[in-house]
């Protein structure tokens, strides 16, 4: 951009507009020093409209003012990276000229207020982030956190969120291939709703959201603008409190049908070469989309809010600029293309209005029916937001908790503990959730939800992609650095279990208030862990999202850095399912069990103790396991592979035995761990959550090959037994001791744990609320 020392021209106050006073500045969530900086940038007092613009763009949500320096430490490059962080979605290279665009985004605050619409609009937003790269969305995932299901409010939020996620994605026709749901007290009143979208494109069709070409026009495409969600971005940047009820922005309502039309129209506009750039009007709406596109392109823009189609009359420029009405896109194009663009939009029953143009003076200028109401130097507006380096200090109680151990005796015996664990909503089957999501539309789903990772075929090619989202907030809470590593390791293990090679990640960092030293400690340490793991696995970070201020009056949430990962299955027919498949197959345990129960589900569920030191993550061992699984899959020696994480070895074995939701009955298991165990007490052996482990099965004649491959990759492996008959028992022998469970009983427990808790009035309310539509 030409560095012209521009002094913005005057901007006018509208008749009746509130003057900017210190109180008004505070209402906009801007600090005194931030306000001083604004005055410096402008060389005068801002108008209310300008203050609104600054408050949106300098909100945590848009500016990343507390996280930027930390995010810079992530590895973001690699031969597979086509587009790293900074665009609407990251893009990785695939074989045959294909590429994958993917991104994860949070919609936590809106979902706390209105679970259905909050979740639905979250899905709509992430879809738009992906198709604005020129990619066709082909898979969705979601990561959800709620307070315990014994509270009616939590059940209502859970039911409403799931329905909202489902209704939006189902209507647009994107299959949901995976996700995760966990329940813990910290999320009561502050649920987390993270949605991830994965899209496919030809690498040559990639389009970036950069305004350029002085004289090019800006068009507003899609739905009309209403007063929805004004100040959503700054709302998302503060703690939820009693006052938030009153300050709550008007609920944004999703229109998935309009979203689908917008997706088709946008993809057509991109592929026909009619446009220069396109961006979703997401958080902070027209303001952030136009300002960011201008800044990325190094140009100025001028828009006239009087030209923006509105749903209600009498909207002020302030409202039009900050509205977060859904299903709108900002498009930049040459003026001689307007007619053709309008033809495409009309075909998809959408409106497209010219609202401004690209200028050469670097000023972000807004008019309202001609009158200039905002004139701000564009680059400082986007880039000069103050950056903060908050204090970072671990809370003393966190240290103590890590060094402590359980004092309560086990609530139940070693065998019964498994039934308890499988009845824990966090561990139990999420069938109640994923059956509400279309998982087969697009006719490319190779492995749907219910396994380690979702796998889809890229039609017309031989390859497929594996996708997953993972986070174990328990481990992050106890040891943020190791926990951060563990989240990436688990995601990679899930991907590798299907036979895929991990390619890269997107992340959604959900934390409390970063201005609190203990929260910022969690944040920086978790990020350090994520960065180290990504470096070790060659899975660069291609983008993501930070969601701070996840605090309710009860305090901060558990730190929840969710990792969304994509992996490549060179030959999709080599995909490996998670469940045991054939009686007589051999079972091999990969990886080493040390038996440290710190941070385990066993301690928290059976010994009422949330604490201890989780096992350190051995990144080299994880990497070796990933490579082994991919090679074994490509040689087709595996019948099943399931990663071992929450709930330990016994849980992994039980899940593999129970089978998928449509399996009819599970399969028995007969194994002997006497030699494998090496003096580890039974509860530690069965329930410790060491990483770098997987349970695989293979045909009897292939067991030697599996063991040889494991040796080649330096992965400890033990053939411990075999898959039993249909409806047979799960039997684990430990020398003289033997533990036995009925797989049929375990299966019932595992699949019924959530449904049986959800047959209640609040759930019926959530389910009957949206009778009309879908």
């Amino acid at each position: 951009m030409a560095e012209v020392a521009v002094r913005p021209t005057e901007a006018h106050r509208l008749a009746g507009e509130r003057p900017v006073t210190p109180e008004v500045v505070r209402e906009h969530n801007l600090s005194e020093s931030e306000y001083a900086r604004i005055r410096e940038v402008l060389g005068r007092t801002p108008t209310l409209t300008e203050l609104g613009i600054f408050s949106a763009l300098w909100s945590e949500h848009c500016s990343y003012k507390h996280s930027k320096p930390v995010l810079r430490t992530f590895p973001t490059t690699g031969p597979q990276v086509v587009q790293g962080p900074g665009e609407n979605a990251g893009v990785l290279r695939l074989p045959d000229g294909w590429a994958v665009a993917f991104k994860i985004e949070s919609h936590n605050h809106p979902s706390a207020v209105e679970p259905y619409q909050g979740a639905a609009t979250g899905v709509g937003g992430i879809l738009r982030d992906v198709f604005t790269m020129g990619a066709r969305p082909v898979a969705m995932l979601n990561s959800l956190r709620f307070g315990p299901l014994d509270s009616p409010r939590n059940r209502y939020l859970f039911a409403g969120v799931v329905r909202g996620v489902g209704d939006y994605g189902n209507c647009v026709g994107i299959p949901t291939l995976g996700g995760e749901v966990a329940f813990a007290p910290g999320y009561s009143g502050n649920p987390l709703v993270n949605a991830m979208c994965v899209g496919l494109l030809r690498e040559t069709d990639l389009i970036r959201a950069r305004a350029h070409g002085v004289g090019n026009v800006l068009l507003c495409v899609g739905s009309a603008t209403g007063r929805d969600g004004i100040h959503g971005a700054s709302f998302a940047s503060e703690e939820l409190s009693e006052q938030s009820e009153a300050r709550r922005p008007q609920v944004q309502v999703g229109d998935p049908f309009a979203g689908k039309l917008l997706m088709e129209a946008s993809l057509e506009l991109v592929s026909s070469g009619l446009i220069v750039a396109i961006q979703d009007m997401g958080a902070a709406g027209l303001t952030s989309s136009s300002a960011e596109m201008a800044a990325r392109g190094g140009v100025g823009v001028e828009i006239d809010t009087g030209l923006v189609p509105t749903r209600e009359s009498g909207m002020t420029p302030y409202e039009i600029l900050l509205s977060e009405s859904q299903e709108r896109m900002l498009v930049v194009a040459a003026p001689d293309r307007i007619d053709e663009i309008q033809r495409v939009c009309k075909k998809w029953e959408l409106s497209a209005a010219t609202i401004g143009h690209v200028t050469d003076d670097g000023i972000y200028r807004v008019r309202h029916h001609g009158l200039v109401v905002a004139a701000i130097p564009g680059r400082p507006l986007v880039d000069d937001c103050p950056v903060y380096h908050p204090e970072s200090r671990e809370a003393e109680i966190a240290k103590h908790r890590r060094d402590a151990g359980p004092s309560a005796p086990p609530a139940v015996g070693v065998a019964e503990a498994l039934e308890r664990l499988l009845d824990t909503p966090t561990l139990a089957s999420k069938r109640w959730v994923y059956e509400q999501y279309d998982s087969t539309v697009r006719a490319a789903t190779v492995l749907g939800p219910g396994g380690d990772a979702g796998v889809f075929h890229v039609p017309g090619t031989g390859f497929g992609l594996a996708v997953t989202v993972d986070c174990n907030a328990r481990l992050v809470a106890l040891d943020p650095y190791e926990g951060g590593k563990a989240c990436v390791a688990e995601a990679a293990r899930n991907v590798a279990c299907t036979g895929a090679v991990p390619l890269g990640i997107t992340d959604c960092l959900n934390f409390g208030n970063p201005e609190k030293p203990d929260v910022f400690f969690q944040f920086t340490e978790a990020c350090r862990g994520i960065a180290d793991a990504c470096r070790a696995f060659d899975t660069p970070v291609t983008g993501g999202n930070v969601s701070f201020y996840n605090e309710s009056p009860r305090g901060a949430i558990d730190p929840t850095p969710v990792i969304g990962m994509v992996g490549l299955l060179h030959d999709v027919t080599a995909r490996v399912p998670s469940h045991f498949a054939a009686t007589g197959d051999r079972i091999v345990l990969l990886g080493r069990t040390t038996g440290q129960l710190g941070g385990s589900m066993y301690w928290s569920e059976i010994r009422e103790f949330f604490g201890g030191r989780p096992p350190a993550v051995d990144l080299a061992a994880e990497r070796a396991l990933q490579r082994l699984l991919a090679q074994a899959a490509s040689e087709r020696v595996l019948r099943s592979a399931h990663d071992c994480s929450d709930g330990g070895l016994a849980t992994a074995l039980a899940e593999a035995a129970i089978g998928g939701p449509y399996a009819g009955a599970g399969l028995g298991v007969s194994i002997d761990l006497a030699r494998y165990a090496d003096g580890i007490p039974p509860e530690a052996l069965l329930y410790a959550e060491d990483g770098a482990r997987a349970v695989i099965s293979c045909a009897p004649e292939l067991v030697e090959r599996v063991l040889a491959l494991a040796a080649e990759h330096g992965v400890p492996a033990a053939a411990v037994g075999e898959v039993g008959a249909a409806a047979g028992p799960l039997e684990i022998r430990l020398g003289a001791r033997a533990f036995r469970w009925s797989v049929a009983d375990l299966r019932r427990t595992y699949f019924e744990a959530i449904p049986r808790r959800m047959r209640t009035p609040e759930v019926e309310r959530a389910e009957t609320e949206h009778l009309t539509g879908n």
Partner: protein, 235 residues
């Protein structure tokens, strides 16, 4: 002879590509027809695909049935042309009175996405001739409004005339993945009296390729591809 199949795209259709691919896979010459078109481009076979036409707002299929293309579909069906509606396509055919009954909200109120087991009750139709009589197949459903409903007399007539082409394994049965939506008589698919119009809730196009776990739906498209336009389409 290569049959020409037209897949109708309404705003909000989202199984159009899947249907097109399933047709192409069995060698049909498949093309899209836009809902604002007024002709079917000489198609032998018409498919109304799944999705959420007009967002399924008001009622699934209620608005789409007024699309200009529906006149051509009506003429095609009246002339005995094979017309298959899958999921939303079924809903549209009912709303357009090309098929009897209506598809109401699922009994359990939630959207349901999972595989189901269905029995192919009639194999003497152009859509199912490649199946064995009584064959049990596993294919996915994905719908919120799939509970087939009609008055008692209509239901009796459908049974008497053998127009229930696909039936879910009854709920409560010990084996198999049963009726997912509470539909009357476990009906998963019905035809018109002449037999050339069929509506089904399950998605055979999502089970037409072995890599997807089941190819049980492929025979729908094989049946269609094997049909010869010289032969009357009805039973």
């Amino acid at each position: 002879m290569t049959l020409r199949a037209a897949v109708v795209r309404f705003p909000g259709s989202n199984c159009d590509e899947d249907a097109l691919r399933a047709c192409a896979r069995v060698g049909m010459d498949a093309c899209y027809v836009w809902h604002r078109d007024t002709g079917l481009g000489g198609a032998d076979v018409v498919i109304l695909p799944g999705g959420f036409s007009y967002g399924d707002y008001l009622r699934a299929g209620a608005i789409a049935r007024f699309s200009p293309i529906m006149r051509a579909v009506q003429r095609h069906a009246a002339a005995g042309g094979p017309t298959l509606g899958v999921c939303n396509g079924f809903q549209i055919l009912c709303e357009a009175h090309l098929l009897p009954g209506a598809l109401a909200r699922n009994e359990r109120l939630t959207f349901v996405s999972k595989p189901v087991d269905v029995l192919v009750e009639r194999t003497d139709t152009i859509f199912t001739s490649a199946y064995q009589p009584g064959q049990r197949i596993r294919i996915p459903v994905a719908h919120g409004e799939g509970r087939f409903t009609a008055d008692a007399e209509t239901l009796r007539m459908l049974e008497a005339e053998g127009r229930v082409v696909l039936r879910y394994v009854p709920s409560g049965s010990e084996t198999g993945l049963p009726n997912p939506n509470g539909s009357a008589g476990d009906i998963a698919g019905v035809s018109n009296a002449a037999g050339n119009v069929l509506g089904i809730m399950p998605h055979p196009e999502r089970a037409a390729d072995p890599i997807l776990g089941t190819a049980d739906g492929a025979a729908f498209f094989e049946s269609l591809a094997a049909w010869s336009p010289g032969v009357k389409a009805g039973r």
